[in-house]
Amino acid sequence: MSDLSLDATQLDRYSRHIILDDVGPEGQKRLLEGSALVVGAGGLGAPVIQYLAAAGVGRLGIVDDDVVERSNLQRQVIHRDADVGRPKAESAEEFVADLNPDIEVEAMERRIAPEEARNLVADYDVVVDCTDNFPTRYMLNDACQIEGVPLCHGAIYKFEGQITTLSPDGPCYRCLFPEAPEPGTVPDCATTGVLGVLPGTVGCLQATEAVKVLLGLGETLTGRLLFYDARELSFETVPYQRNPDCPVCGDDGIDDLAGVDYDGGCGVASD
């Protein structure tokens, strides 16, 4: 812990954390000195970016290669009507600057390439997976496992969400689903539609996990998959275990991303 101290404005801004048991001024300093990489600034990324910025997570990386479309505004609450046509990473950066001047934002207007994934995730304390595609999800899992960075996973489908936290000591996403479905077999939000408020709920749970990881607080969803069903308003948690044969975190797991076919089913080539 460095000697970063809170100024009067910060003591005021974060006062509800500072008086909170198990957070306090030390916890708030941890958040301000902490960093999170938010991959995807869409439905899930919007609430994650909002709450991590509001909480005072000092350095936020925001990656997205899309521009804001009008059809995004039904759920992607950090972007406004006037942002239509702008890069999401840029719009998100501006949102954070308006919300909390304490936060340093690194906006990256691109899709993460396998060659850079490991270095990129290793530069942050926690990664939050808010992407909308399997190749990037599997790549983040693999890179975070290899680099030992916790990954807060959330994904949505119509009225349902899946949330879990992938810790460096496993189990990992490939223990649950060793390979991705073939491209095109699982429809996306643009094809099926999505309840606008759904990613708000799921993203808030991911942000909760990220804040807990940064604070070292409580029990995360490590080894547990949480299903959220908005139609029933039900939550169901199921435990899952490390797969000893997991191609990434198993006993003979990979130690680089070179042999992984992210353009196909994300399969890991065996030696």
Binding site: G40, G42, G43, L44, G45, D129, C130, T131, D132, N133, F134, R137, G154, A155, I156, Y157, K158, E160, Q162, Y173, L176, F177, P178, E179, A180, P181, V186, P187, D188, C189, V194, P199, F227, D229, E232, V238, P239, Y240, Q241, N243, G265
Partner: protein, 92 residues
């Protein structure tokens, strides 16, 4: 014996509902149930089984325990079991 089958995301769509209660003979395995489901629902055909094993794109839980860590397709079901079958989803 009675088994509760629970479907998530695209599988729920394929079956048309989240929960199906079904009677099976004693000793029925997870594999036998999955073959029956692939047979019964067109949109599940080819989605659950690959080369006689669980597909690597799905997860199956027997009353909250992963089939993978039991006996996989050979896992014998018991009366009152809940069999949860789910795919990954990617939306964000």
């Amino acid at each position: 014996m009675n088994v509760e089958l629970r479907f998530f995301a695209t599988f729920r769509q394929a079956v048309g509902r989240k929960v199906v209660e079904r009677e099976f003979p004693e000793g029925t395995t997870i594999g036998e149930v999955l073959y029956e489901l692939e047979e019964e629902y067109d949109d599940l055909s080819g989605q659950l089984i690959e080369d006689g094993e669980l597909r690597p794109h799905i997860n199956v839980l027997k009353s909250g325990r992963e089939a993978l860590h039991l006996d996989g397709m050979e896992t014998v079901l018991e009366d009152g079991d809940r069999l949860s079958i789910f795919p990954p989803v990617a939306g964000g």
